[in-house]
């Protein structure tokens, strides 16, 4: 019993510290706050269920990227709350920075909107890229070769450009 408590304690402590990773995954894969919370909940469960097997041969955060993305892409079943319905306001609620000039802010809004139109795999690539992961880490997380990751990333860039300038 004591062991479980200790495990729980160390897990919650680490998750609390690194929770932004989960929030960021949710930000890319959902369009509104309800869905965001729902996915956050599911990722938390999956992390907790996998935690006893986490041996620390990778960093806790690296491990979180895998579990978080895997949950969002593969395991998560979109619940009753429909995540597909895109409300403009919902998509944009996440961008509220005001420190940019109008054009850059406008461009960012469009960019975030474009990213939301990508498919699950493309979003994962973008996410890891935004998180400043190199191709070796992307290849490790996704289970594809580095070359493949590179080619896919270039296609995502092209696709984004097409969405932005139809």
């Amino acid at each position: 019993m004591k062991l479980t408590k200790e495990l729980e304690h160390s897990f919650v402590e680490q998750l609390e510290k690194h929770q932004n990773i989960v929030h960021k995954v949710c930000r890319l894969y959902t369009n509104n706050q309800d869905a965001h919370n729902d996915l956050f909940q599911e990722i938390t469960i999956q992390l907790w269920k996998a935690y006893p097997k986490f041996r620390g041969d990778s960093k806790f955060s690296t491990w979180m990227y895998r579990v978080g993305l895997n949950t969002a892409i593969t395991l998560y079943r979109k619940g009753k709350r429909s995540i597909n319905t895109q409300h403009m306001d919902d998509v944009l609620y996440k961008v509220k920075s005001v420190e940019y000039d109008d054009t850059e802010e406008q461009q960012l809004k469009l960019l975030y909107k474009a990213v939301h139109q990508l498919n699950d795999i493309e979003k994962a690539l973008v996410f890891l890229y935004l998180e400043d992961k190199n191709y070796r880490e992307i290849s490790y997380t996704m289970g594809i070769s580095e070359v493949n990751a590179r080619v896919k990333m270039n296609r995502v860039k092209t696709k984004l450009r097409t969405i932005l300038n139809p």
Binding site: H23, Y76, V95, E99, Q107, I121, L130
Partner: protein
Amino acid sequence: MDELELLKKDWQKDTVTYPKLSANEIYPMLLKKSSSIVKSLFYISIGELLFWIILNSFPFLFDSYREAFDNMLMSKAFFYGVTIFTYVIIFLFIYLLYKAYKSISVADSTKGLMESILKTRKIIKYYVIYNLVFGGALIIFSFIIEIVKNPKVSEQIAQFETDGKLAIFWATTIGMLILGILIFGGFIWLFYRLIYGILLKRLNQNYKELKKLEV
């Protein structure tokens, strides 16, 4: 400037403030139930095993059926052989499924996780195919034995022969048999397509997307 670079700059600045959950808010989240597809897949496969086990054992729960089996023209040894074989296969599948579920790890790579889920699904698929093929073979086999060994059937066949309607008799009987198997098989096939189609559509799409370009 590269679009993604602009996005990255903004992303890294952390201009968005996320709700900061406290440890006290995280603890209750650990107790909530998961709604992952692996869990659904697990319940479905348990349901399937039970369905086929019940379907296979159902007749033996009734005295009349047992009597019918006792009077059956098949030899008892053959009958017991088939029953034992069926159960060996069921246990084999339970073992394989258990192993497959154990190998599903959320901390695997995205591709690895998808592959282990698809492998699990494949085992269930083979189990269903086995049941359909085995069931179909058993129906055909009992049908042949009935015709060859049952005196009443032989009498009727002789009657048809004298009436000159033997060809019609065979055509209708075999036709009905094939139709029955097709309808039953088709129904089950449709059922599975529906369950797994809905459950695994997204996974299959993503897996294909991931595999694209892979050599």
